[in-house]
């Protein structure tokens, strides 16, 4: 059925090429999920329950409460008996999917001037009245980039996981979830309409839930998974409302059909602004932006490769993809665009400040991810869709690398603790230090990623971050954004403010990343005397993927070189990604740019110089101010004071939400709705009250029943006499 429908895709030049097999790209991971899922379930039946008494032993004796889930990876030494099957199937399907995606990419490149998207319709999903939602995939330049990133980075992380999760008893379950995640992520980027995208959107959230809570025996992990899902659901509410608005007003949810109506959108009208803002609410959930970013740091409870794949490289960037995909909507709603810029810039800065004072290595990276996602939103909000996607891509490379590198470190730290039977926090940077001597490869690769994220040329992050900030700067003049007003502020002011925040966040990024590197790899080692002997480099199955990502993080900027660079140096083609994505986002960008234009070459050079200077000074500040030698291990550390403490506690945002939203909801539900209205008012007063009334009447009546037949007989006779007396005129003659 699939292939038949695929053949009817029609006259697109891609029909009949390798791109015609795009349906298989998501189906391969789905197949992997089914196989691994069956392995996980069937063998579990023979495996018997893991000895429950071992549960408390395996639980890591840490007082921190969060983030030590990785403990189990090395603790439980029962390797799954079907692990071999999983080791082949799990990463295998990803390799196959990536090769297929690469073939599709080559086929796409072979077609000159491909402007129309290649849409394959498989079957009708929800045909109801005038609503028609098909299960259909759409391969265009944007989804191609996303498919390559998802399958490519996903493949590397799958391979890394083979080493990282080797000893875990839940090995097949892990790969089942991971495969399922990739399936949903591919549905997300390939879906040809909003509801199908929404399947992927919620599906990745579901897998994220399962993977964050992968080591579910610890309450903190299960809590984190649940929190992620529920916070995401708040965003999904916005997504749903946006879809309802689209359907109620434009009668379709299909990308192509909506884009065809884009000319009819009232520019800056309340309807289109509302749609864009509701979509953006969805993005704040999925992509961890203010005010819904709170779930992402907690999500670090999952295994580290999961953090790399889901909470850095792919799923959390879905919001950026959504805006780029909906560029025709956002381009028509400048107020929404400004909102995206403001939220993005605030998030970028705010998260970076928290990142400054975290001790958990993964938490630093988590806040860094939130911050970098803020940059991406600044980009897509400013109509710089290419820059946003470009940063998404380079971020996928260097952040995946950072997470996997951190994973290697945690893995090694953990093994060391395991050997000496010590229970300490394997993720706290205060317990690390000086690891460069033991893990040279990881150390070098992590530095590459750090330089990339800090924006040091010629590493990839420099190009993408600079493009976002540069484009944002240019939007301040003449663009539709600059002409709009946001809460009464002129657009130009908002854009300059966001630009300043972006620069400040860049400074902080360089500082906290250098801090992470210094504390982890430099200075004296604080792990412990005995443990030090067990520190060593991770196996090649783990460092191999790191090397590939390291290369990509270093040279990823090549994919979209700015003109100012290619004019000066013969490095390669100009704006490769820009030309590639032009058929999808070109019109949207043009609409945002309006009468504005590029900044002058001189100004551009100046901006670049400022950005580089900020990045370099950030690193310099960190190197001069921070003294890794003065650090003490976590167990001996004294708590922070003053503002540091506020930062360390993440501005107490979780506590505020808890007190302002979560507790009142529970209290109102329990005391007012359930005990008050339900059992009290309705059941108690109305239902059982009427029953009580009936019983009271009966009781009063029963008091006349003495049980003495004689009395009854007297009453009877008297009654008869009474009646006869009353009616004697008519009864008696």
């Amino acid at each position: 059925m699939l292939i038949q429908s695929a053949a009817s895709a029609g006259t697109n030049p891609l029909a009949g090429t390798a791109a015609g097999w795009m349906w298989a790209i998501p189906l391969l991971p789905l197949l992997g999920f089914l196989i691994n899922g069956l392995v996980a379930l069937t063998s579990a039946a023979h495996f018997g329950p893991a000895d429950p008494t071992a549960a408390s032993h395996a639980a890591h004796g840490d007082d921190d409460g969060a983030g030590h889930g990785d403990a189990h990876a090395a603790h439980a030494s029962t390797r799954h008996r079907f692990a071999a099957v999983t080791s082949i199937v799990g990463p295998g399907v990803l390799v196959a999917a990536f090769l297929l995606a690469a073939a599709a990419f080559l086929a796409m490149r072979a077609v000159p001037d491909l402007s129309a998207p290649f849409v394959q319709r498989y079957f009708s999903w929800m045909p109801v009245g005038d609503l028609s939602v098909d299960v259909a995939f759409r391969l265009d330049q944007l989804s191609m980039v996303m498919v390559l990133v998802v399958t490519g980075v996903g493949m590397l992380i799958h391979i890394f996981s083979v080493g990282y999760m080797r000893e875990d008893p839940g090995y097949p379950r892990y790969f089942a979830y991971l495969n399922l995640f990739v399936f949903f992520m591919l549905v997300l980027v390939l879906g040809a309409n909003y509801p199908l995208l929404f399947i992927g959107w919620e599906g990745v959230g579901l897998c994220s839930y399962l993977l964050i809570g992968f080591w579910f025996s610890e309450k903190a992990n299960a809590d984190a998974g649940k929190k992620a899902f529920i916070v995401n659901r708040i965003g999904d509410f916005g997504f749903l409302i946006a879809m309802f608005l689209l359907f109620a007003n434009y009668g379709t949810l299909d990308f192509s059909a909506l884009q065809a109506q884009a000319g009819a959108f009232v520019f800056g009208g309340p309807l289109i602004t509302a749609i864009a803002l509701f979509f953006f609410l969805g993005c704040t959930g999925k992509s961890a932006q203010i005010p819904l970013y709170i779930w992402l740091p907690d999500a670090m409870a999952g295994p580290t490769p999961v953090s790399a794949l889901i909470h850095a490289a792919t799923m959390v960037t879905a919001g950026v993809y959504l805006i780029a995909r909906s560029n025709f909507i956002f381009a028509a709603a400048p107020v929404a665009g400004l909102t995206v810029i403001v939220v993005g810039a605030l998030t970028a800065f705010f998260a970076a400040t928290i990142g400054l004072k975290q001790w958990d290595i993964k938490k630093v990276l988590a806040y860094s991810t939130v911050s970098q996602l803020g940059y991406m939103f600044v980009g897509v909000g400013a109509g710089a869709y290419v820059a946003g996607i470009f940063h998404l891509m380079t971020h996928a490379f260097f952040k995946a690398l950072l997470f996997l590198g951190a994973g290697s470190v945690i893995h090694v730290m953990h093994e060391a603790y395991h050997h000496t039977h010590r229970h300490d926090d394997a993720q706290d940077m205060r317990n690390m230090g000086g690891l460069r001597k033991h893990m040279k490869v990881t150390w070098i690769l992590m530095w590459i990623a750090t330089l990339a994220i800090s924006g040091i040329p010629p590493f990839s992050g420099f190009f993408s971050k600079d493009e976002i900030l540069g484009t944002l700067f240019s939007r301040a003049d003449g663009s539709t954004l600059a002409q709009a007003h946001w809460l009464g502020l002129p657009g130009t002011v908002v854009i300059y403010g966001a630009y300043a925040l972006g620069l400040a966040a860049a400074l902080l990024t360089a500082i906290y990343m250098t801090r992470l590197m210094l504390y982890t790899f430099h200075g004296p080692n604080r792990t412990g005397e005995q443990e030090r002997a067990h520190l060593h480099e991770a196996p090649w199955v783990m460092t191999g993927p790191l090397v590939v990502l390291g290369i990509l993080a270093a040279v990823g900027g090549w994919f979209n070189l700015p003109e100012i660079v290619t004019r000066a140096l013969p490095l390669g083609p100009t704006g490769l990604l820009e030309h590639w994505l032009d058929p999808v986002v070109g019109a949207g960008t043009a609409r945002v740019v309006g009468s504005g234009g590029e900044v002058a070459a001189g100004t551009e050079g100046l901006l670049i110089a400022v950005a580089v200077a900020i990045a370099v000074s950030g690193i310099a500040i960190a190197v001069t101010v921070l003294k890794p030698a003065r650090l003490v291990p976590k167990a001996q550390a004294s708590p922070e004071q003053g503002f540091e403490r506020v930062l360390n506690n993440k501005y107490y945002v979780d506590e505020i939400y808890d007190a302002a939203v979560v507790r009142p909801t529970y209290d109102v539900s329990r005391n007012l709705l359930w005990r008050g209205i339900d059992t009290g008012l309705i059941d108690g007063l109305l239902v059982n009250g009427s029953a009580w009334l009936a019983r009271l009447t009966g009781w009063i009546g029963s008091q006349f029943q003495s049980g003495q037949l004689g009395t009854y007989a007297w009453v009877l006779v008297l009654g008869v006499l009474l009646v006869l007396g009353a009616f004697h005129h008519s009864v008696l003659p």
């Binding site: 996980a40 379930l41 579990a44 039946a45 329950p49 429950p52 549960a55 408390s56 639980a59 079957f123 009708s124 999903w125 929800m126 045909p127 109801v128 009245g129 005038d130 609503l131 299960v135 509801p195 929404f198 399947i199 959107w201 919620e202 599906g203 579901l206 839930y209 399962l210 809570g213 579910f216 025996s217 610890e218 309450k219 299960a222 809590d223 998974g225 649940k226 899902f229 529920i230 659901r233 999904d236 509410f237 749903l240 409302i241 879809m243 309802f244 359907f247 109620a248 909801t665 529970y666 109102v668 539900s669 329990r670 709705l673 359930w674 339900d678 059992t679 309705i682 059941d683 239902v687």
Partner: protein, 532 residues
């Protein structure tokens, strides 16, 4: 398939056969007789449960096979009732034994027959006392529920409505939990109050449609729809009577408090039948009777605002109250209030999408909540507690149970790709066209439903395995897997490819929406007199 069905004249006898088969099964159990021992004996342990149990299973399996032909034999393109069966019953009062189906009742019948087979499996070992009586009642109940779905005579509808009430009363009251008497009497009284008013309304309508020549009343649905003339005031009160009967059954806020008690106290198959099928009878009543018979009242702005408000309150209120339930079964019961609120929202929003969505929610809720109650029953049989706090971390011990519960939970939450999403999405997207504010409030349920269910399954399946009693719970056995796999398959199938179901219901749903709208306009323009 269709040639074969035509060759055996399937459509001529299928509906009476569906009523006959369970009745004969019940008779067979009765003829087989009760076991000799005292009624409190454990029939499963003594082996005397075998025969009635087997008769019930075979009967309901046969029933399912018989009903399955409707899937192919029903032709959505044909307007009007199909598989009609119509013989006189009480001619002097104009009552006929008249059966027939459209796309809506088709799906409800298939849902009923399939769930009932599973319900027998679900109580296979948990129903231990007076098994012969239990299985006979279960079969009568099946006939009653199917009768409601296929009746085309209002009097027959009422009879069937009461026929299904009695077995349920006994199933809750005899085989239920500790507070079973309270729950069953509450259930009975609640339903009875509503249904007696409905009887009055039905008699009034039958008299209103009486023949002008002979004066004999006519209770046939089509005749009442076509000829019954009632004044606006009378229509208002009659609608109120039907509304009360069905709103109790749905149950709509604030008529819902029988549900948590009945659900909690009922034995597992009883809860499943209650949730999966009996609640749908209420919403089915709205679609078949209350709304089409009184379109002018049902589309009246005030009436609609009240009903929609109650529906939306039910959605949010049910979800919030679920959030704080300590008893898992009660939690699911309140979640039913929330889900059924979506159905009411869909019906009264009156767009094709919302009505189709309401029908999908009816089917999906039947599958998902049925599966949830089965799962609760399974774990209850092992641990004899329904309190959430008595569990924790059992995913380590019972991985297959955990996998099944997780899938069903996500279906109930309405994650896209599972059946739950289709219904809620269609209801909301349809309702948003006519009542955006109500739809907007209702859509917040996506947040709350995730909150209450995920919190519950976390405390059951996840967290630390810290209670000794949970260390050695056996995982699902073959019977339980055989019972769950069809439900899980249904969850995925209806989530990914609901088109076959939607296609069969679409013409009926469209006719419902159109006829209600056009007739409402006609009635509002031409005032009708009372009974002449």
């Amino acid at each position: 398939m269709n040639e074969f069905l035509t060759s055996i004249g399937y459509m001529h006898w299928v509906l009476p056969m569906l009523l006959l088969v369970p009745t004969l099964g019940a008779a067979a159990i009765w003829l087989h007789g009760a076991p000799g021992g005292p009624p409190g004996d454990d029939d499963v342990a003594s082996g005397t449960a075998g025969a009635p149990r087997l008769i019930a299973l075979v009967t309901l399996a046969a029933e399912f096979v018989v009903s399955l032909g409707l899937w192919w034999a029903y032709d959505p393109a044909v307007a009007g009732w199909q598989a009609a069966f119509n013989v006189p019953w009480i001619p002097s009062w104009g009552i006929r034994f008249s059966l027939g189906i459209d796309g809506i009742s088709l799906m409800m019948i298939l849902l009923t027959t399939s769930i009932m087979v599973l319900a027998v499996l679900g109580g296979w070992t948990s129903i231990r006392r007076r098994t012969h009586a239990y299985y006979a009642l279960l079969l009568i109940l099946t006939a009653g529920m199917l009768g409601v779905f296929m009746s085309l005579d209002l009097f027959l509808f009422y009879v069937m409505w009461e026929v299904m009430l009695v077995p349920m009363y006994f199933i809750v009251g005899v085989w239920g939990g500790d507070r079973r008497l309270y729950a069953s009497i509450k259930f009975f009284l609640y339903t009875m109050v509503g249904s007696l008013l409905m009887l009055v309304a039905i008699v009034y309508l039958g008299l209103a449609a009486r023949s002008r020549l002979t004066g004999i009343p006519d209770f046939s649905y089509d005749a009442i729809l076509a000829t019954a003339r009632v004044s606006h005031t009378a229509a208002f009160w009659l609608f109120g009577a039907f509304f009360l009967a069905f709103a109790v059954k749905v149950p709509m806020f604030p008529f819902h408090t029988w549900l948590p008690d009945a659900h909690v106290e009922a034995p597992t198959p009883g809860s499943v039948v209650l949730a999966s099928i009996m609640l749908k009878l209420g919403t089915f009543g709205f679609i078949r009777l209350a709304v089409p018979l009184f379109p002018a009242v049902a589309t009246n702005a005030t009436v609609r605002a009240i009903v929609l408000t109650l529906a939306v309150i039910g959605i949010v209120y049910g979800a919030l109250v679920s959030l704080v339930q300590p008893d898992f079964k009660k939690l699911v019961a309140y979640s039913s209030v929330s889900h059924l609120g979506f159905v009411m929202l869909g019906i009264f929003a009156l767009t094709v999408q919302s009505v189709q969505g309401a029908l999908m929610v009816m089917i999906n809720h039947g599958i998902s909540t049925g599966a949830l109650f089965f799962l609760i029953g399974m774990i209850y049989e092992r641990r004899h507690t329904r309190l959430i706090e008595d569990y924790g971390g059992i995913a380590r011990v019972v991985p297959m149970f955990a996998a099944a519960l997780t899938v069903v939970t996500f279906s109930s939450i309405g994650v896209p790709g599972t059946n739950g999403f289709i219904g809620e999405f269609l209801v909301l997207i349809g309702a948003f066209r006519t009542y955006p504010v109500y739809a907007l409030i209702a859509a917040t349920a996506v947040i709350f439903s995730a909150a209450y269910l995920l919190w519950a399954i976390q405390r059951i399946l996840f967290n630390a395995l810290d209670k000794k009693a949970n260390f050695h719970i056996p995982d699902l056995n073959r019977r339980e897997l055989a019972l769950l796999i069809p439900l899980l398959a249904g969850i995925v199938w209806l989530g990914v490819y609901p088109e076959p179901v939607l296609r069969r219901m679409e013409p009926s749903a469209e006719r419902f929406v159109q006829s209600v709208q056009t007739r409402a306009i006609a009635q509002n323009q031409a005032p009708a007199g009372g009974i002449e």
